[in-house]
């Protein structure tokens, strides 16, 4: 699971008002090379919740992202490459996602988060 996906997912449990961002428990991180595409990054920049991304990438052991970011930084090539690496190349292979409100764990195995809810959580 890439951090792009982590940035989109939120906890869907009944009664949870703010299920975002899910905390990451890391067991294994892998890196996979992905083609660099500036247009996609610029498109995604406005949709990504920056604080959550920066925090998630730190948990995954990549501390290069700045705390805050604004659109002017998209001009910098260096910044774009870091953004690209954090968003698309870091994969959470094994671990868990934790709901910030209820503490419910969604296990991640072989890179696939299990977001299935129990019957009483729907």
């Amino acid at each position: 699971m890439r951090l792009l996906t982590h940035n989109m997912l939120s906890s869907n449990i009944k009664g949870v008002a703010n299920g975002f961002p899910l905390k990451i428990e890391v067991e294994k991180v892998v890196q996979k090379e992905v083609d660099f595409n500036i247009d996609f990054l610029k498109n995604m920049f406005y949709k990504v919740e920056w604080k959550a991304l920066a925090e998630a990438s730190r948990t995954m052991g990549y501390a290069e992202l700045p705390e805050n970011a604004d659109a002017a930084m998209l001009e910098s090539d260096d910044f774009l490459h870091k953004f690209h690496h954090a968003l698309l190349e870091l994969h959470l292979e094994e671990g868990a996602l934790v709901c910030p409100e209820t503490g419910r764990k969604f296990p991640v195995t072989k890179g696939i988060p299990n977001m299935l809810l129990h019957e009483d959580e729907v």
């Binding site: 792009l4 989109m8 997912l9 869907n12 247009d39 995604m44 919740e49 977001m115 019957e119 729907v122």
Partner: protein, 292 residues
């Protein structure tokens, strides 16, 4: 009928077990159909043609057959499926999108407004079945369309290819989509053919606008193709009941055969069914010379 409708056999997470998932993905016929359906769904999605990769959601992505077509078009995607076995096959095939194990009937757990579009190939009709005592199809459809509406960006489209079992099911699905706030309708490709007939729910997030027109289906000669038209056709047909005691009238076949008009009519019928038919030329239904 039971073999052609897997949703009547077992719930999806049980029907698509390891064997079925492997069978599904090793059949070249299914791969072909899936990629054709995805091509058409992407066409109906009508993303702006500016070369910018978009983020799409594939609902019921299965083993990633549809996702591969999305990747070929240069977009990023996120796949959701309820069957672990199907996702395992997708992992083996090393698809480019991210996979999430989830149930669309529980609502999509995604942040609002993040997606540029969504497609779904042959999945949404599963929601009409209650596989567990806790399942209530209406609530599940409501949760699905409500959450889909929220996570799509404004003006984004969702194209859902469905196999509704009957008219009631089609209306149920469309009704919940409209109640969630979507505008749009159903596009039917090849409405005259039983095999090639495919239905797509084309939905747009937001109020109906003048610029949005539900696209025409393929193989229907530009005529509108709503449900009423189709059911109307069936009703208008009169059923002939022949009296077997009456001597049958001789069929009118003159010496020269059925003639060019008849051939042209038949060819037109086959064309409407979506079959490949040779073009009409001056040679069509021309009689051979005597010396032949």
């Amino acid at each position: 009928m039971s073999t052609s409708r897997p949703e009547l056999l077992a719930p999806p997470e049980i029907f698509y077990n390891d064997d079925e998932a492997r069978k599904y993905t090793s059949s070249s016929r299914i791969i072909d159909i899936q990629s054709q359906l995805t091509e058409r769904a992407l066409e109906l999605l009508a993303l702006p043609d500016d070369g910018v990769p978009r983020l799409l959601l594939d609902i019921g992505c299965g083993s990633g057959l549809s996702g591969e077509t999305i990747t070929e078009h240069g977009h990023q995607w996120l796949g959701l499926d309820i069957s672990q076995s199907m996702l395992d096959v997708a992992l083996e095939r090393e698809v480019d999108g991210d996979l999430v194990l989830g149930d669309m009937g529980q609502g999509l757990g995604l942040r609002p407004g993040v997606l540029d579009g969504a497609i779904s190939i042959s999945a949404v009709q599963w929601l009409c079945n209650a596989d567990k005592s806790s399942h209530e199809p209406r609530l599940r459809l409501k949760a699905f369309f409500g959450s889909l509406y929220r996570c799509l960006g404004r003006g984004a489209r969702a194209v859902l290819q469905v196999y509704p079992e009957n008219i009631a099911q089609r209306e149920l699905i469309l009704g919940f989509a409209m109640r969630a706030g979507f505008s749009g309708g159903i596009v039917v490709d090849y409405p005259h053919s039983t095999k090639r007939r495919k239905e797509y729910l084309v939905l747009t997030c937001g109020p109906p606008s003048l610029s949005f027109i539900t696209p025409n289906g393929k193989g229907e000669d530009g005529e509108s193709c709503s449900d009423e038209d189709n059911s109307g056709d069936e009703e208008n047909q009169t059923v002939c009941v022949s009296d077997r005691h009456r001597p049958r009238k001789k069929q009118k076949v003159n010496k020269r055969g059925k003639g060019r008009d008849w051939v042209l009519k038949k060819k037109e019928q086959m064309r409407r069914k979506g079959n490949t038919v040779p073009a009409d030329t001056k040679y069509t239904a021309r009689k051979r010379k005597d010396r032949f």
